[in-house]
Amino acid sequence: MKSFSFKTISAIATLSASLALSAPALAKVEGDTIILGAAISLTGKYSTNGLHTQRGYDFAVDRINDLGGVKVGGKSYKLSVKYYDDESTPARAAQLAERLIQQDGVEYMLGPYGSGLTKAMAPVSEKFGVPMIEAEGASRSLFTQGYKYLFAVLSTSEQYLAPVVELAAAKAKAAGKEPSSVTIAMAFENDPFSLDVREGIVDTAKKYNMRIVIDDKLPADLSDMSATLTKVKAIKPDVLIVSGHSKGAATAARQIDEMTLQVPIVGMTHCEAAKVQEKFPAAANGFLCATQWVESSPKKDKYFGNASDWNAGFKKAYPEYTSVPYQSAQASAAVLVWKEAFEAANSFDKKQLRDAIAATDMETFYGHIRFSEFGNNIAKPMFMRQIDGDGNYNAIITPDDMVWPRKAQY
């Protein structure tokens, strides 16, 4: 094939450049549709959770549209989300934030999956004064940067496993011992999320004057923590806490099972994602798992009803889920916040919308949502669930709900 002449190419280039320049960057509201923008991990290492997030967004958008959409200035608008795939890489996510805002003219953003990607996108949306409501970035460091346009509906990461320490203290008291006699062994992946989780534990342990006997950091490509667990076996602490996303939970469960560890309290994050109750039912019996949301929560809203109504509706829309991940629930909650903010501001101006979001004080099926001046949700607690012998996750509302010491059946 003959190549195009230089003239043709330059003519096409000029033409397309001028078209691009003259095209109005006004995609935020098209006709009667409000466009929200999001970069989501559809490929790469976060693709499973990315999909959970996207489905949570889509489920809420469809429900709001079915119920008549969003009313602004007496007119009804439909919601729609423009997605890009960030390939699970922060650099791509930052690029896409720029593209959504500058090329596509999006002025209302939903967050990506995970703290790392949110951290990459937040400076961009902040620079352009575009509000972003995110549902999946829990790292505390997101809310110490002084961002004015970033809001998160979920609890921040230092709260994830702190309840485990509280529960240990309560159980020690009930057994007639001083909480300060409790010893804690812990292992955390060396990443921002897990180190935040660690901070929360250290603070709570300090409050009760408990002794931390093991404090290991796990590498990012972690597949062996037997050295740490050998130490646990030798020292016999009262509490073992592990956080390293789903690979940390899977590795810990596998090796706790192998070494038949009998620690009375074991707490971790991401049990559900790692499916520890299916793969290592004997060891996982009695694990305490942190979760942002439980489907038995009584909280409700006018869009979905209560938590179990949302759960049933979501399962109907996506029958492939046997149990719904909380990632989808919080994604739906973020869309609800946008909806109410549009109606409260009664405007499409991003500054006014930002103020409306900041003033949010609402109950949803996901829990209460009220933002601190830093943008994190301070009205919703973390929940703990304990795995029982049949692999069920039982919510722990008071310390009496907890089986202690756990009954691992090796």
């Binding site: 950091k217 923590m225 740490t228």
Partner: protein, 301 residues
Amino acid sequence: MLFNLQILFDIAPITNIQLILDGIFIGAVLALGAYGLALVWGVMNVKNLAQGDFIILGGYIAFALAREGVHPVMALPIVMVLMAMLGWMVYVFMIRRVIEQDMFTSLLATFGLSLLLQQVMNLIFGPEVQVIDSHLPNYQLFNDSVTLPVVKLLSLGMVAVLAVLIVLFMRKSRMGQAIRATAQDERAARVLGINTDRIYAFTFALNAAICGAAGVMVSMIWVLQPFYGISYSLRSFAIVTAAGLGNLPGVISTGFGLGLIEQYTGFILGAEYQVASAVVMLLLVLVYRQRRAKRKRQVVR
């Protein structure tokens, strides 16, 4: 750190037995991957950066078979055959074209292969961590203070059998002799009528099969994730560089050594230094060799 040393020597000296056992088990699997690398490196002068990804791929094939109800131990020969076929194909389509080129071309090519394998595994199996439960018992020794999982013992046995078979194969069979001849002098081998292209293809396929076997052990002992290959590649390179090429006893003993170093480092300094200890070991060996080479002038063979 002092407290950890105190556990080892004072509070629970029995822990040493656990660490040594674990070190040997880990070392066996690492040695297997490293031996495959030494083979390809020595015979073809190709530094295979996709070594760890071959290992993980072998593990995923065992995982897929386990979902169909095949026990991982039974899956081992199947995985090795499949991986050998894959290795042969990779050689025919890719390695053959870069083998005559300079080192950087083969490094780049195998790095590309590594990325490709990672993404393909991610597409097929998803990014979640996967494990295989081998349903084998764990023995508790010394009053429940030392764990001896049968699965690790079994992998050690399988590694030993494979190592013996490989040594016999290289020493006794015509193919093994041809491989060694090609490694020593490729041109002379060709002059004497050895089809070096076939030897290369066979060597690369053998390496893939060995990696597959290591992968099956990894899937039974640890966890699988599409992006975990790099840590196995890194340790393979460290072992081969420290032990030298074409030196199976050296590779195996270095593998065991690395396993022990990793376990003790993880225990005393904390798990975050565990993989780092591989690189530190490599550094120390290289420094020692450099100093020795300076003292005694010797010809590098």
